[in-house]
Symmetry: C3
Subunit: 132 residues, 3 copies
């Protein structure tokens, strides 16, 4: 199991980690198979979405906060229940297809760590299963 | 990596692709393992839900549009931020267990491509990892 | 493919199944690879979130019910469209990294079956792909 470190700078943000993930795949010589990424935190998540126009990420962060606001009907004393809920809605795990030594993404897709209760130092775990 | 093509006919809909996926598995002779499906688009997604009563899909499409409406607090100029957000909520990837040469689903489950900004021609990528 | 049984006791709840999953991994002697869990139901799901403070789960169940209420704009006659929608938002499948014979989770993470239309007897299917 490999580990990537991601430093977030705001309470809520999406950090593009596509290049770091691709660098890991290249560095390990992983060629054909499935890469599994895991966020070992309960107030962050992993997702894939458009990496071209930063307004997409802005709209996503703003609207997730509208759906699951920071303050609301919460009993958890740490004041971050919104981040816990968003973590499960987006999901802590992400599988990516690896072919020809590269993660396979659509034209507009990038891999994002979704921070819900930052700024923090976060980890992303990675495991690879070769197809041949 | 294999590719399926899916043509959608409305802006928002869920297209049952279970038969196409099963046909791919049978055609490739994939018998035991994990099938990974990937939607390379940022305004569509993959999910599994009830394929028996079409009202389930209708209720899902209608209520996702209620939660993340087409028009709202969006800055992305293409007017499809709702589709981007729903794509991450539902998720672009889907793993299915394959046993005895068939995808293993519960009695009521079907595999759906969730269109959020159609009508369009969509792709679903597929990778298989054999368990033995 | 292995099967776990989970009995739920309320209409909506999250049942911590971490120990059962770990017991399965140990009992099968699965050491290094990816464990894939699948919920073959369309009104339940699998997720990972904080297992320490039960208020986190309480806040999640309450707020998911706020976002997708039991009664609403639904046509599906069984009265459980909310559970179908939440199933797709949380997702029916969950991949876990297995290393040294144990599922690898962050400090606060636990694996939960999310019941949306209980009480019922539920199944969780499990498939393992070894990495070596």
């Amino acid at each position: 199991m490999e580990r990537l470190s991601v430093t977030t700078s705001r309470r809520e943000e999406m950090v593009n980690v596509t290049a770091e993930v691709q660098r890991l795949v290249a560095g390990k010589g992983w060629s054909e198979g499935l890469l599994y990424l895991w966020c070992p935190h309960t107030t962050a998540a992993l997702t894939v979405n458009e990496a071209a126009d930063p307004d997409v990420v802005r709209d996503m962060v703003a609207n997730l906060a509208r759906l699951v606001p920071h303050r609301g009907d919460y009993r958890h004393a740490e004041g971050n229940s919104d981040a816990h809920i968003k973590s499960s809605l987006l999901g802590p795990g992400l599988t990516l297809i690896v072919a020809d030594g590269r993660i396979q993404l659509g034209t507009w897709q990038g891999v994002f760590l979704c921070e819900g209760d930052g700024p923090r130092n976060r980890q992303v775990w990675a495991a690879f299963l070769a197809s041949r």
